[in-house]
Symmetry: C2
Subunit: 390 residues, 2 copies
């Protein structure tokens, strides 16, 4: 149930003093091979943190030996000096591990616009290197947490049981496609070539992390990295790797939503009957970004008018539909039928469970169903995000 469960990996997590709280804040993940295949996807934000710029280059050749991750600072919007800090961090890790700096991925998370305390970070790397262990995954998962209340880990078996995918992720706010704001490291001991790894990771994240949206805010630091050691000696084809990665990423994405800042409800918005998957996604995302709807769910109010008002904001060329054909069900009660009043909204009990299902039928086409997860908008969200940096 961690990134060190697949063969060929060691990890560690330590407290280096980057967090004022004194909690663990530096993680190291090492791929001992025999293969050192790597792939990664990053935020699509145009304002990206120094570690994203660095890691994009590292992963370009499909090879990486290690990932260093820190919480306690995003190293974003820190200019050329911040990029130098990331570069020096990679070089330091490379020296300690005896690998090339060009094979060290760097991930950072925390406040934007502050330089990292490099001496503290380097001491943390040294400490972590001395603690690297084949059961160190859980320590690493704890060291990347920011406002997360629990570490997020996953373990998935390959189709034939002969290889595994392990994963860890952090992220509790600023979650929006694409990607959901987060750091994620995935490991596998399957034998997989670099191009298959890249394609499988892209498909898996598109179907999972890109379909959660906690607060509509896109981060500067999102990174999902995959390391493949080949240590099982068993070759996996692209389809099998994609399937396993999708299961792993899906579980981690769901765990991120379940721990989102201040949330009291997880909301699954499913759109059916669209003319295409992109059309369905556009409608689902519009609904998951409605502050009014999300505040209503917090108040256990099945205010379906706010669902329709959000659906109606999607341009016709993006998602064709007839407003008078829209059906909406909340927790299975069809509160809106053909764009008008359906069953009594009093029949919907949102207080009964954390999970809320909003099903929208556009009656416009035959595209497969698309589900995007979000949270309600709560007092605690406002509180956490009005006090984060001060």
């Amino acid at each position: 149930m961690s990134i060190t469960a697949p063969l060929g990996f060691r990890a560690a997590g330590v407290a280096a003093g980057l967090k004022a709280s004194g909690r663990p804040d530096v993680a190291l993940v090492v791929n001992d091979g025999p293969d050192h295949v790597a792939a990664a996807v990053f935020t699509s934000n145009r304002v990206v943190a120094a570690p994203v710029v660095w890691s994009r280059t590292v992963v370009g050749d499909g090879v990486a030996h290690a990932v260093v991750l820190n919480s306690g600072g995003a190293n974003a919007c820190t200019g050329p000096d911040g990029f130098g800090d990331t570069h020096r961090t990679a070089e330091h890790v490379a020296d300690v591990l005896g690998v090339s700096a060009g094979d060290v991925l760097v991930c950072s998370t925390g406040l934007i616009g502050e330089r990292l305390d490099l001496p503290a970070l380097f001491a943390g790397v040294d400490d972590a290197a001395g603690r690297l262990a084949a059961d160190g995954g859980p320590d690493a998962a704890r060291a990347i947490m920011t406002t997360d209340t629990v570490p997020k880990e996953v373990l998935v078996e390959g189709a034939d049981g002969a290889w595994r995918v392990g994963g860890m992720a952090k992220g509790a706010g600023m979650l929006a496609p694409a990607l959901a704001t987060m750091l994620c490291v995935l490991t596998t001991d399957a034998v997989v070539d670099a191009e298959d790894a890249r394609a499988a990771l892209a498909d898996a994240t598109a179907a999972t992390f890109d379909r959660i949206d906690s607060d509509g805010c896109m981060s500067t630091n999102d990174t999902v990295a995959l390391l493949a050691s080949g240590a099982s000696g068993v070759r996996a084809d692209r389809a099998a790797v994609t399937a396993a990665l999708t299961r792993a990423c899906g579980a981690l994405a769901r765990a991120l939503i379940a721990d989102a800042e201040g949330a009291s409800h997880d909301i699954a918005v499913t759109v059916r009957g669209a003319t295409s998957v992109p059309a369905a996604l556009a409608v689902a995302r519009a609904v998951t970004r409605s502050n009014l709807l999300k505040a209503a769910v917090f108040g256990n109010d099945p205010n379906w008018g706010r669902v329709l008002a959000a659906v109606g904001t999607v341009p016709a060329d993006v998602a064709p539909f007839d407003a008078d054909a829209l059906d909406v069900a909340i927790n299975g009660v069809q509160v809106c039928r053909a764009g008008g009043v359906g069953e009594d909204r009093a029949g919907v009990d949102l207080a009964a469970s954390r999970e809320v299902r909003i099903d929208i039928d556009l009656h416009a086409g035959a595209a497969e169903d698309v589900t995007v997860w979000t949270n309600d908008l709560t007092h605690d969200y406002v509180h956490e995000n009005s006090a984060y940096s001060t």
Copy 2:
């Protein structure tokens, strides 16, 4: 300072029992001519309320004699029956006033998905018709309030002082372009032809109501209607009418933001140095829709990293800029310079005033500055919107 200040108009506002609170909820505005020129702009939401469907048709010929407005129910998502209710309302008003139903604009605001109490509404219309007065504007302004805490009215003099524009508006939540969620009636006693009225209103609303965004949520009922009586006997050209309407709409838009649900700060996001006005608008809107930034402002935290993270979400084909060239000033303190750390954020005191200025320089082009107004995201916003319909 009201819609009855220009010559040729009478208005009234009464309590008809549509609101559970017993507060005024039906308003009537009559243009006594000699001209009956009318223009209107409506929500761009594809899910529109029955009164919007009706009023679009009414205004098609550039003529209207009266506007009936109700709070206490939006008559949205009410299907063919709801449209029938609007149609019958217009016919009732027409009968009472002795005009054609096709010259009666209808506006509704309140909860979506509930039918209106027509007998109560009709009784309210009868009552209002009996109270129509040349100083009835303020009563009408009060009758269209929902969660507004104060009525919003304006009076602007034409360039030569020979004619006037009066206005009233309501709207305190679900405010987003285009339009900001709201009802607004503008009156003028200038002599203006229908095509000039239409063009002037479109330009005035694009520069004002379309540049406020309280919570990113677009309404189903937004209507801005202009009635021109010609009673001053003075002809006004398109430019003069546009200028006066822009001043009137600007003042009302600013008043809407100042009264937005639960807000404790009004935030002016100004974008300069864009390659075009649409590019500047896209950047400003991305920033005004960042829940994280808005929560930070509520906490009096000048978290400029959240400004950059929002700016970076705008696609490059929409707004070309170099992320390493971005400058951000908050209340005049340049906290971000060239995409990195600028002056000390501790120099920004957000607690000192309700108004917050965020200035973003893209250094990409020479388009004119664009300002979009929004609010902070507060506990009170969450509270009001989690309890509105229950």
